[in-house]
Symmetry: C2
Subunit: 409 residues, 2 copies
């Protein structure tokens, strides 16, 4: 038997399932493997032998996942230790993979997951294990290096830009002066916040200021920016990344005793609340509304980008193809070929070049004042949000596939 | 000359413009009035003679408003005093209406706006003024009495239920136990929070608990509910109205020094944050995610209900028709005729029966434990979210109509 396994890790996106379906569907068509297993709840689930045979389930019951947001195979946040530190875990995983006659392990995830792929492939190589490890990118944050962009980003950008447009209209209705602050995700990088630049109305950008983690945030300069703009127009629209920080590196709105997740990342929140109070306390404006888009950015399939869904599917399909050509310790990237018309292709790159590395928003795409982005950001982002998926609607709501029984979720 | 004027007031909705277009389009077809004026920024704008002649603008430039969220004619929150208190304001308004030869004033708004319509119509009657006043309902809160429901509610309910579905999938991916709390608007009534009951997956309701302002909220009972549910399942989904309060009437999460708006309403926020802390501090669950849908509920046209848009258009059209039959001091309501298939009709009712009154969520639609709603709520809400509007898309985003130049917004 020659089987493969696919698992998902880290925060969900709207299109992470499309990549899993890309693997499964290309295997149905090309018979690369006898069985496609799913590791439920990522590497953590596999360690507990929480494994389901997708090839045993009627494809009609599964294929709806392509248009279902979030990690349909479950997820985990599990930082794999080096094998010098915890050899047992490696031994256990390879025992399980051997038991299921698994020749390829596909791991769909962000930086942390690619680190897992990297470590396993080195271990396999060192110990002559006949298992290949292939990474498939996934993150709304768009912060994986080398590739042009990551699956999940386009749909998040589309939701952000749509919300910006609609909230701009909502915020513009009263005659008194007011400020609207929309907070996006993006702990380390400003890709998500910057994507708000594609929201235009009557040909003009909707957003007045965009603040990114890549530029040190100065509360004084922020108040100066807003106050000046309020002398020119009644309604000022601000987009801010959750990851903005002072030049000393302190997160804005970070409270004393802020919690940290398992990777040591600070758990953020409340940036827009902090900025609201700042505006009110300095009497810069009387009316401030804030909106934290939060999880909506990673699960709003009803507002996803078809381009993003297609590319997520394509990286899964491509991963299956690469896997039978002996590739291991690689992940699948997306390369942009042209912008008008937009075309892209997939390619394989070593996970070592991606694992634990971050692609920052380019400094040259940020304006001189450090409070907005340039036309380059617009040109870069726009093609990635194109196309509206035809979601199946039942009783006025999206009909999503939730395999809680089959997957014992 | 025989002219009319239309204005919008209070918080926006996704479909409030459809009602204005209903008036304008039926006038184009039936020539009730020589000119349809718009009072920009409601009664406050009219007092400042901020008035635009919609009939002077090419209809092709305006008609896109039907599928544009928020108050395209601007809005205000202006509490009209009684004419005993401030006679001058009444004299001024009627002078302006006379100057523009306005015979009918259409005011699209919620409880406060219907109060304005009521006061003006009494004044007109008393002083033999030949101006009719007609109210058109609008509020996502769905809290106007007598009518079955209000335009704006269906689209808000659809956005809430869609977000519940998608966030349920997002929240279900990790294996550790967790609680998700989604906060809806609804200061006085639970209609919006209750609408989450229509979100089902594989035939099962997604939401475990719904807490409404109509039932006194007990933090102890809440923790008991959640803790008990966590013994039965890993992920608990809670929907809560911003207006929940203790049996003493104190809003949950209300901080000391909370601000109040001009109508004396407490400015809310932070209920879900309060409940999150409550769960964490009592060690009821380790992982709690919260989402405040906020303004998205009233402006997400991309996820609006076509039934809602059609009915909002219809109440506008109906208001124009009623106005030429000598009706004044009335507003247009919606009556449900049947549920399967869903049909409704418009009717006129006296604004005095609506002004400053509140329609609460029916106690008999709340379960015995006071922590969820019954099947009646499901049957009531479901028909109102049906149908997906065909929004014009340009560059991957909705193309909305924003007449900032024409309306001097």
């Amino acid at each position: 038997m020659k089987n493969c396994i696919v698992a998902q890790s880290g925060g969900p996106t709207s299109v992470i399932n499309a990549s899993a379906i890309g693997i499964l569907e290309s295997n149905i068509n090309s018979h690369y493997y006898d069985n496609v297993y799913a590791g439920i709840n990522g590497i953590q689930g596999i360690l507990n032998k929480h494994i389901v045979n997708l090839s045993d389930i009627n494809y009609d019951e599964v294929k709806g996942l392509k248009y279902t947001p979030s990690s349909g195979l479950g997820s985990c946040r599990y930082k794999l230790k080096s094998f010098e530190e915890n050899n047992e875990e490696y031994i256990k995983i390879f025992e399980i993979l051997e038991e299921y006659e698994i020749k390829t392990f596909f791991y769909i995830g962000g930086n942390d997951s690619q680190d897992t792929v990297h470590k396993f492939s080195i271990y396999a190589n060192k110990h002559n294990k006949d298992v290949k490890f292939i990474g498939i990118p996934k993150t709304i944050d768009n912060d994986l290096p080398i590739m042009d962009h990551t699956p999940g980003f386009g749909s998040a950008a589309k939701l952000i830009a749509t919300s910006v447009l609609e909230n701009f209209l909502d915020a513009s209705v009263y005659s008194p002066k007011g400020v609207f602050i929309l907070e996006t995700m993006g702990r380390d990088t400003g890709w998500l916040a910057a994507s708000a630049c594609i929201a235009t109305i009557n040909g003009n950008p909707v957003v007045d200021f965009i603040y990114l983690p890549e530029i040190a945030f100065s509360p004084d300069k922020f108040i100066e920016d807003v106050a000046k703009k309020l002398t020119q127009k009644n309604h000022v629209f601000v987009v801010v990344s959750e990851g903005i920080r002072t030049k000393e590196g302190k997160f804005i709105g970070e409270a004393e005793g802020t919690s940290h997740d398992k990777f040591g990342h600070t758990q953020l929140g409340g940036v827009c609340g902090f900025l609201k109070n700042l505006i009110l306390n300095t009497n810069t404006a009387e009316k401030v509304r804030v909106l934290e888009l939060s999880t909506l950015q990673r699960c709003s399939m009803h507002c996803a980008s078809q381009t993003d869904i297609d590319e997520a599917f394509e990286v899964g399909k491509s991963a299956a193809q690469y896997s039978i050509h002996g590739v291991s310790g690689n992940m699948i990237g997306i390369r942009r070929l042209s912008n008008a018309p937009y075309t892209s292709e997939t390619f394989a790159l070593e996970t070592s070049k991606v694992a634990n590395k971050i692609k920052y928003f380019p400094k040259e795409w940020i304006n001189e004042e450090g409070n907005n982005v340039t036309r380059d950001a617009y040109e870069y982002t726009l093609p990635l949000i194109m196309g509206e998926p035809k979601i199946t609607i039942e009783n006025g709501l999206p009909k999503y596939t939730f395999l809680d029984e089959a997957f014992k979720l």
